[in-house]
Amino acid sequence: MDRIPILKLGDALLVTIQVDMHDRLATALEDDLTNKIVKHGAHGVLIDISALEIVDSFIGRTLDNIAAVSRVLDAETVVVGMRPAVAITLVELGLSLAGVKTALNVERGMALIQRRHHILEHGADADSAS
């Protein structure tokens, strides 16, 4: 069975979702991510959905789950690369993705993760991120 590859990117993990996910693939991804976060002490998880033409409630739930589990393991999840048509549809669909942070692209997502980690390590006053 295919598994979605997870790459290490600095202090974070990068997942690029390109295929139509089904249950087993989603569960496998959640398992793999959980293991890798712990193994690498990752500060964050970047999920690149720029290849997804649609995001339905199943994918939404998967993203929520990943974010929730990561949070427990002290890692921030950032979803990046959402297409405009997908964003408009999600809003209409009523999918809030409240527990998930979003960013325009991997670079921005990475900056978010690093900033959060920096604040956690050194306190809010020391945040001079640019």
């Binding site: 405009p84 964003a87 325009l104 692209n105 921005r108």
Partner: protein, 290 residues
């Protein structure tokens, strides 16, 4: 020998086709179909000729029920003509007269032929009238629907033109909304805004509603949708231009905009700059010594 009464009529039309066509064209021209220049005589002639042939074939099968399958070719042809009339801006009268002015030429042909008795002629006239009236109504229905589509498209274009997205600074966009925000317009606004966020890699979008007359529950919902969509693209929103009356209305209606809001676009811009860790400074210019 004709199979059925209507088939005889169809045959007559076939025999007299050229005359009927010419008479028909003459009537249409006299009514002004060619005046506006939207359609040329050759094209009109082709349209009439094609329709007449299709109509004649349908009649040959002996039916006046224009809703039957026999007439599907006729209806398709008329549908096309109506749609093109609608998009080219012809008036309803001009469009309807295409069909209705066919009656007179066929009645004349009937009277001229001398082949049929008075009772038969009366019957033909009655049946032809029924059929052409039906088709005329169908023409109008298609025309009407097409006009609606044209109007919807034009509204969309107006929406797009009246919702520009401007870049205030690197990464900071402003969306000055003018007019009411209905659901159709919200779609256009969202599409414009999100695409610009991508193109400009914007981080902050200031939605200015100074030009929005009222903010009721529905408008607020549309605003919130727009904000939510921008957020999914990684951009934060600030709403500005909330007039005092609007603020009061919103509170009374229990409308909550859970997004940062500022009174003016200038205030919002200041907040945005700060968020991006940018500042505006006064540059000391060198003084000229005399």
């Amino acid at each position: 020998m004709a199979r059925s009464p209507l088939a005889a009529l169809a045959q007559l039309i076939s025999e007299q086709e050229t005359t009927i066509l010419n008479d028909w064209l003459q009537l249409l021209t006299a009514a002004g179909s060619l005046e506006s220049g939207r359609i040329r005589e050759a094209e009109l002639r082709t349209q009439c000729s094609t329709f007449l042939k299709l109509f004649r074939v349908a009649l040959t099968d002996g039916d006046t029920d224009t809703n039957s399958a026999v007439y599907s070719g006729v209806r398709d042809n008329l549908g096309e003509i109506s749609r093109s009339r609608a998009t080219q801006g012809f008036s309803p009268r001009e469009t309807a007269s295409f069909i209705f002015s066919l009656k007179e030429p066929v009645f004349s042909a009937l009277n001229r032929s001398g082949k049929f008795g008075a009772a038969e002629v009366a019957q033909f006239i009655r049946q032809l009238t029924l059929a052409l009236d039906d088709l005329g109504l169908y023409t109008m229905e298609v025309y009407q629907k097409s006009r609606e589509q044209v109007i919807i498209r034009q509204q969309r274009e107006i929406s797009e033109l009246s919702t520009p997205v401007v870049k205030l600074w690197d990464g900071i966009l402003a969306l000055p909304l003018i007019g009411t925000l209905d659901s159709e317009r919200t779609q256009v606004v969202m599409e414009n805004l999100l695409q610009t966020i991508v193109d400009q890699a914007a981080e902050i979008a200031i939605i200015d509603i100074t030009g929005v007359p009222t903010v009721d529950t529905l408008t607020a919902q549309h605003l919130l949708k727009t904000v939510a969509a921008a957020r999914l693209m990684g951009a934060d929103c600030i709403v500005s231009g909330i007039r005092p009356q609007i603020a009061q209305t919103m509170v009374h209606l229990g409308v909550e905009l859970n997004v940062i809001s500022k009174a003016t676009l200038a205030d919002a811009f200041a907040v945005a700059l700060k968020r991006m860790n940018k500042a505006v400074v006064t540059v000391k210019t060198a003084t000229l010594s005399s």
